[in-house]
């Protein structure tokens, strides 16, 4: 199983690189940093039964990492892998930032303008409680994105109202467009901030380890429904898997050129077939 997951991780990286290269735009850095999270979430964690309404639901708040989202959805059967070729092109369902507007399967809400996903996830979590639906809501948010004030309205609400059927993961890569998060606007000690807001905090030291992502998400599930919302601070490396894209914000929103693509793809040989 994990051998297959490793293959999928490599293939998703290739998809991301090829998608952004083809249109010379998009966000490879954050996408590459979250491949292990997406693959684990969709292949091993999310409970989805298409015959039921009572399914786990995922919301991507930092919508700019749409390439990893689209690739994972396509390779999990939500739509055909070939459709990845339409990313950011005209008449496509794969918009630059994800949207349900064009009925792309697997997408529940539009995101891109930052800071809105946690609120939406909490609303879904409230609806699940009203519907006596035991399934969980998962949200992924960026770390730079936490500079948006709406998040803190949502964090305050979640703890005060004991919304405990939600697991928020922060992609804690320390980078944003203008530079390191420390330099742009230091978000400070996230752990103590969340704890003081009444959240149960789990720390993931290596969000680029399939094993660690899986074990932390399992632990989060165990800790859910105990009166507190749960946040995972997931340390990742932006640009993970492509040596010249790692540990820098340079590739946050920049596509590789032909030469760079070739080098990057050589570091991630085809495993499951390119789209």
């Amino acid at each position: 199983m994990d051998g297959d997951l490793n293959k999928l991780v490599t293939q998703v990286r290739r998809d991301i690189l090829r998608m952004v290269h083809a249109v010379n735009s998009g966000h490879p850095g954050g996408s590459l940093g979250c491949v292990e999270f997406f693959v684990t979430l969709y292949k091993k964690v999310l409970k989805v039964d298409i015959s039921s309404d009572l399914n786990d639901m995922f919301i991507l708040s930092n919508g700019h990492i749409s390439p990893v989202y689209y690739s994972t959805l396509a390779r999990s059967g939500y739509f055909k892998v070939e459709e990845l070729d339409s990313f950011r092109k005209i008449d496509s369902r794969l918009q630059g930032h994800p949207t349900n507007h064009d009925n792309l399967p697997g997408i529940n809400i539009s995101s891109g303008s930052l800071g809105q996903g946690v609120s939406v996830g909490l609303g879904i979590a409230l609806s699940k409680k009203l519907n006596n639906d035991d399934s969980l809501v998962y949200v992924l948010t960026g770390d730079g994105e936490l500079q948006e004030g709406q998040n803190w309205e949502a964090f305050m609400f979640a703890a005060a109202k004991k919304v405990d059927n939600i697991i928020v993961t922060v992609d804690y890569n320390g980078q944003q467009i203008d530079g390191s998060t420390k330099d742009v606007l230091d978000i400070g000690d996230l752990k103590s901030k969340f704890e003081s807001f009444g959240w149960k905090v789990l720390e993931m030291e290596n969000g680029n380890s399939l094993d660690e992502v899986y074990s932390t998400l399992c632990l989060a599930k165990e800790k859910s429904k105990k009166g507190k919302p749960i946040v995972i601070l997931m340390k990742t490396v932006m640009g993970n898997g492509v040596d010249f894209m790692m540990h820098t914000h340079e590739w946050h929103g920049k596509a590789p050129n032909d030469e760079q693509l070739e080098i990057a793809l050589n570091q991630n040989p085809e495993t499951l077939g390119d789209y």
Binding site: S110, Q116, L122, Q150, E153
Partner: protein
């Protein structure tokens, strides 16, 4: 047509509150959210009767809109409640992305719209909200004129699948529409037939239009009065039919003339039936503190302003 009679002054926000109370009793899927203005929005009864379906968000409107989008994603019919200013301008991007672009079945219910909010002044008196909301693709925009209409609109929008902006106000005003009349989204109401000039009014200005028509009649001018409660989608037929008869039109609204009902009508007329039009509304200005009725007079949002505009537009025929 029968003379239109005021059944007794009532506030439109209480119409919203009563409508929401009825929905709470009749539809388990209806949920409500409020950002610390439950009393002002008259949402108390719903909150008391349905504590598990009422969400007090605190003074955090952005989060409230996101929660509503999420509740709609989970199959609920959320009604959000706060003042019009905090329902629109403060959360425009949240509505744009999480509600409108995402086509979520959220009902954004906005009280204290316009200048009749009164003494709190310009920080709270939004006169731009109709424009903000009507520009959003897929958003239905409703501005009700009295208690009865607000109550029936509140109930009816729960049966409509899609985002709605429902705008109403603070003060007690004439309650004159028929309480048994079913609210039809997108259908204008013919209040009084006439041949000389068409007056199209929305919200609190509808009663002023009725009063103006009485004075116009005393001066030998037979005005046709149309109540447009749904500004988007606009009932084009009722307006075109009327103007093809009268040849001129006055629009009246408690809103900036930029971006409001009048502009929607002028776009319609200029493309389908070019005709003289006069605009009653605020003239690209902020409001100020004061009693609602004095503010309405100062900013020309009253029956005499409608009367004068009708006289002026007739000269341009």
């Amino acid at each position: 047509m029968e003379k239109i009679i005021n059944q007794g002054d009532k506030d439109t926000r209480s119409g919203f509150g009563e409508g929401l109370t009825e929905l709470g009793r009749s539809n388990d899927n209806v949920v409500a959210l409020c950002a610390d203005l439950t009393g002002s929005l008259k949402m108390n009864v719903f909150a008391e009767e349905n504590p598990e379906r009422f969400f007090q968000t605190g003074i955090a409107e952005a989060n409230m809109i996101g929660l509503a989008a999420g509740l709609a994603t989970g199959g609920k019919i959320p009604f959000t409640g706060t003042f019009a200013n905090f329902s629109t301008g403060r959360v425009y991007d949240q509505i744009r992305q999480s509600v409108a672009y995402s086509n979520k079945n959220v009902k954004i219910c906005a009280s204290h719209a316009g200048i009749t909010l009164g003494e709190d002044g310009a920080t709270h008196q939004i006169l731009e909200d109709i424009g903000l909301m009507k520009m959003l693709p897929g958003m239905t925009v409703i501005n009700t004129c009295d208690f009865n209409q607000t109550k029936s609109a509140t109930i009816e929008i729960s049966n409509f699948d899609g985002p709605v902006y429902l705008r109403f106000g603070r003060p007690k005003v004439a309650n004159f529409t028929n309480s048994s009349e079913k609210f039809k989204i997108g259908k204008g109401l013919m209040l009084k037939e006439g041949n000389d000039v068409t007056i199209v009014a929305t919200g609190h200005l509808v009663w002023e239009a009725i009063k103006a028509s009485e004075k116009l009649a005393e001066n030998g001018i037979n005005a046709e009065i149309i109540n447009i409660h749904t500004i988007k989608p606009l009932d084009e037929d009722i307006i075109l039919k009327s103007v093809s008869k009268t040849g001129c039109l006055v629009s009246a609204e408690e809103h900036n003339i930029y971006g409001g009902l009048g502009e929607s009508i002028s776009r319609l007329l200029v493309t389908k039936l070019p005709s003289p039009q006069e605009f009653v509304g605020t003239k690209d200005t902020f409001g100020e503190s004061g009693p609602p009725s004095e503010l309405m007079n100062k900013y020309g949002l009253n029956s005499s302003s409608i009367f004068n505009s009708a006289v002026n537009v007739l000269k341009r025929k």
